[in-house]
């Protein structure tokens, strides 16, 4: 393993004896404004909610394995799937991706911290408290047995189901208010990443020399500014309806539930691109390193990302093909959706071309990355199927749709996040994760994932809709649901192995040097873990792969880059 570094002193030694050390350590985490610690806080927070959200859906899967199973009542079931969706999107997906962004982006651009460190901390705590507020809903109301006032209106909370008339309890309010709070946190981090990328790049790092992960976090964060805000606005409107007598979504006063649907998906569609683009960014870093080649087509990848950023704001109504828009409107959204699919599709070719002619090392991060490419291919294709509006009139709100978006969320995004964990954990902790446990995690997750979600497409084609707590015994969906449930539990075991790996490796992982993977971007030029100030001297770069240039002085990248 190469260990070339820029000259830096070692990490500061702040060991203190006795109990004071633990309290001091805890305190340091609470008051920190260091982007690395905040990144880890986000990630740890997201992992806790991954387990909680996973438990919720396992309960759902047990309920659905058999018709009329009666494991949970309809009310509790509706709360479980609502909380599962809300948790996984807002308390797992966003935090974990922005957590990685927080940790890695300043290091990759040669900066000492984010542009606004205190805003960074505030943003994390806002997100954290938003999540706690959402989960306190389980305890409110009637208490744990009756599952309290947890939201039960679906993560999309369509009006007028959410009106005070139809749903008088506080469930909807927990949903709206906690997401407004968490949303401000998300906006703060997004703003921070945009400003950091624009204002904090080290000398020589033009935009065209930034690592693609930074490009993608930048585009994601810029998108987020105009993505979360529609949701915040809509939730404010909803609360005005519920408490100030407003009529935004009130049919009795001439209001239109259709407005909520438009507004929600104006948020909802760009949101899923906000979730997927960081995963693309991770792939753009990890696949080249383990193929021992640079990313194929850097410019096209950067341009495609920006393209996706813009075009994704024009496709939202493909979630609404069944609401009764005109044929012309439906056709427009078919076209815009398929166009954005092209931008995404060509990335898959770029990843394969990166591997082509390389020397692929099957480390755990690379295994997950290969699975990511395969699964993103399928996810993209089922997305194209759903974009065919007449077919969507069958597939919408069926289990085919659930299979598609879980292919993206789990098969692409979470798979790539797993890869990112194995890849950057050594940098953050100083030790590598166990490859043995990693391989167990990988294969179990792969098998469980495919067992569940491949079959799920079929039961959707067979007419099974979503959001149902049971189904008639004569529909013939029994065996498919049993299989899907089994796969879910296998995935659960895989995730537990992963969590165990994270914990075990802190003490027992193989010591990683500064640069265990022989990689090429600036974060690998610091110690593992990096000191608080990241770089003692501000780095100066001449190409997209500064460490390649150092390691190969006779064949530096800047000779070949435009």
């Amino acid at each position: 393993m190469a260990d070339h570094t820029l000259p830096i002193p070692g990490p500061l030694n702040t060991e203190r004896p006795g109990n004071a050390a633990f309290l001091e350590w805890l305190h340091s985490w609470i008051v920190t404004v260091d982007h690395k610690k905040i990144g880890i806080l986000y990630i740890a927070y997201a992992l806790i909610f991954m387990v909680v959200g996973g438990a919720e859906i396992l309960l759902v899967r047990v309920q659905l394995a058999f018709p009329w199973s009666g494991i949970v009542s309809p009310g509790v079931y509706n709360q479980l799937f609502t909380m599962h969706g809300t948790t996984m999107v807002f308390l797992m997906g966003m935090p974990i991706l922005f957590g990685f962004g927080n940790y890695v982006v300043p290091l990759m651009i040669g900066a000492r911290d984010m542009a606004f460190p205190r805003l960074n901390a505030l943003s994390f705590w806002l997100t954290a408290f938003g999540g706690l507020m959402l989960y306190s809903s389980y305890i409110g109301g009637f208490g744990l047995y009756g599952m309290g006032n947890a939201p039960d209106v679906g993560w999309f909370a369509y009006a007028p189901l959410t009106s005070k008339l139809v749903t008088p309890g506080h469930n909807t309010d927990y949903w709206a208010l906690s997401l407004i709070v968490a949303g401000f946190g998300t906006l703060g981090t997004a703003l921070n990443i945009v400003v950091t990328t624009i204002s904090m790049r080290c000398k020589g790092m033009k935009f065209s020399r930034m690592p693609l992960f930074v490009w993608l976090m930048f585009v994601t964060s810029a998108m987020t500014l105009a993505t979360i805000t529609p949701l915040t606005a809509s939730q404010v409107m909803l609360e005005i309806d519920r408490y100030l007598g407003g009529h935004f979504f009130d049919p009795a006063a001439g209001g239109s539930p259709l407005l909520w649907i438009h507004f929600f998906w104006v948020f909802g569609h760009p949101e899923v691109y906000v979730l997927v683009l960081p995963a693309f960014g991770m792939a753009n870093e990890i696949i080249p390193v383990f193929s021992r080649k640079p990313i194929f087509g850097y410019s096209a990848m950067a341009a495609a990302s920006v393209g996706i950023g813009f075009v994704s704001f024009s496709v939202w109504a493909h979630h609404m093909f069944t609401v009764g828009m005109s044929a012309a409107s439906n056709s427009f959204f078919v076209l815009s959706t398929e166009v954005v699919g092209i931008f995404t599709g060509i990335k898959i070719f770029n990843w394969i071309a990166t591997m082509w002619g390389g020397r692929i090392q099957f480390t755990t991060p690379m295994l997950f990355s290969i699975a990511f490419v395969f699964q993103m291919l399928i996810a993209g294709l089922t997305g194209i199927m759903l974009s065919v509006a007449p077919w969507d009139w069958q597939l919408h709100n069926s289990y085919f749709l659930i299979a598609h978006f879980h292919y993206v969320l789990l098969g692409a995004i979470v798979t790539m996040v797993f890869a990112a964990f194995y890849y950057w954990y050594p940098k953050a902790i100083g030790r590598k994760m166990s490859e043995r446990l990693g391989k167990w995690h990988f294969w179990l997750f792969l098998i469980g994932f495919h067992v569940t979600f491949d079959i799920m497409h079929v039961v959707g084609l067979d007419g099974m809709p979503r959001s149902i707590y049971t189904y008639p015994a004569d529909r013939g969906w029994l065996w498919m649901n049993v299989v899907i449930t089994c796969g879910a539990f296998v995935q659960g075991i895989a995730v537990l192995i992963f969590v165990w790996n994270l914990i075990w490796s802190v003490r027992h992982g193989k010591v990683a040097g500064n640069d265990p993977w022989d990689a090429w971007t600036l974060e690998w030029a610091t110690s593992s873990p990096p000191p608080a100030y990241n770089f003692a001297q501000d780095p100066v770069v001449r190409s997209r792969r500064p460490l390649w240039d150092i390691k190969h002085p006779n064949d530096p990248d800047w000779k070949y880059e435009p």
């Binding site: 018709p67 009329w68 009542s73 009310g75 509706n78 009637f142 047995y145 009756g146 369509y158 007028p160 189901l161 139809v166 749903t167 049919p251 239109s256 539930p257 259709l258 649907i261 021992r292 640079p294 194929f296 069944t322 609401v323 009764g324 056709s331 078919v334 398929e338 092209i342 599709g345 060509i346 070719f349 770029n350 394969i352 082509w356 002619g357 020397r359 692929i360 099957f362 291919l377 399928i378 294709l381 194209i384 065919v388 509006a389 007449p390 009139w393 069958q394 597939l395 709100n397 084609l461 067979d462 007419g463 707590y469 008639p472 015994a473 529909r475 013939g476 064949d555 990248d557 070949y560």
Partner: protein, 349 residues
């Protein structure tokens, strides 16, 4: 909407009920008595158009998948690191404009083809010319049941739709106008067509022309609250003579059997008539389903259970037996009263 607070005893009760229903449904599972809601078994023109478009898209996507996945697996196998590799790194290739152009243009062409095909079908279904004979039905979605009105015939019924068969000699399409009385719903009978939503203040329209007689199944496909799962649909596609007979029967006022006068009396003095209509009687409530010809329906509670006297009795005693969250309250009648009401209802053919 009444929110049920669940205590431990109530949970045990419901687990028991669901366990009971589960075991009751085992015979259906065992005997393979299945009904089909398969989107790939279309029996109506819109469903068939969608089916062929789906096959076309699947083929396109499938070919694309095979090509790309093969390339991926080939690369992963052929270019794996081997011990025999030389020390230096492999050739550092940054890109290739020709290759990237090619793999951008080809998908664009595929997308253009797919889009044009799709647009044609969208217009074909949404803006289809209306045939000479068509049946108009107004569908009103409620939490958690379907109201069907036939304005041309003066019929009001619930949950089970009867529509005429369409044949090449006698094409007969049914046009559904979709309205909602409360929240968003969606009408989905997969074998007869795609789904269309029922949104308050936003009337929608869809059509179907089933070409095979029989019973078709579906359910609400837009989450609408606690019992969304049990807002089922049955569509009876009748031959012209069957349909005419059904219409004739539905147009009659309710059967007035003097033997069940006691039950009718209870129905009209208790709260029942506040919510239900039985035509020809003082009961003109519209909050719940029209019961004039209740016994012409195979199920009750929007398809949740079979329409049998035993189920009727359980339902009237306490609807949460089958459907906790249904808006009908438990009627708190004595056993004698319930039996009389059931006896009355079972005469409403």
């Amino acid at each position: 909407m009444m929110r049920r607070r669940l205590g431990l005893a109530s949970i045990r009760l419901h687990v028991g009920i669901f366990a009971g229903l589960f075991f009751v449904s085992l015979p259906a599972i065992a005997e393979n008595r299945f009904v089909s809601t398969n989107t790939f078994l279309p029996e109506s023109t819109p469903a068939r158009d969608i089916y062929y478009l789906a096959l076309f898209t699947l083929t396109l996507a499938g070919c694309f998948f095979v090509v790309v996945a093969s390339l991926l697996f080939y690369a992963v196998i052929k270019f794996r690191a081997r011990k025999s590799d030389p020390e230096h790194e492999p050739a550092q290739v940054y890109g290739s404009t020709q290759v990237e152009l090619a793999w951008t243009v080809i998908p664009i062409i595929l997308i253009v083809v797919l889009f044009l095909t799709t647009a044609r079908i969208i217009f074909a279904i949404q803006d289809a010319p209306r045939p000479k004979t068509d049946l108009k039905v107004t569908v009103i979605g409620h939490q958690f049941w379907w109201e069907f009105r036939y304005p041309e015939y003066g019929i009001v019924t619930a949950n089970e739709l009867h529509i005429p068969l369409s044949t090449p000699q006698n094409p007969d399409a049914t046009y559904l106008t979709l309205l909602s009385g409360d929240v968003d719903h969606s009408f989905w009978v997969p074998e007869l067509g795609g789904k269309t939503d029922l949104i308050p203040n936003h009337p929608n329209e869809m059509w179907m022309d089933p070409q095979k007689a029989g019973v078709y199944y579906g359910q609400c496909a837009q989450f609408c609250g606690l019992e969304h799962s049990l807002m089922l649909i049955r569509v009876y596609v009748d031959t012209p003579s069957q349909f005419a007979a059904w219409v004739k029967n539905q147009q009659k006022p309710a059967v007035d059997d003097p033997n069940v006068a006691a039950g009718r009396q209870i129905f009209e003095t208790e709260a029942c008539m506040a919510c239900h209509t039985i035509s020809g009687t003082p009961a003109i409530g519209t909050y719940g389903p029209d019961l004039t010809h209740l016994m012409s329906r195979g199920t009750i509670a929007a398809g949740a259970v079979e329409n049998t006297p035993a189920n009727l009795r359980a339902w009237i005693n306490d609807p949460s037996t089958f459907k906790p969250g249904a808006h009908m309250p438990a009627m708190h009648l004595s056993d004698e009263e319930v039996n009389q009401v059931v006896a009355y209802l079972t005469t409403l053919r």
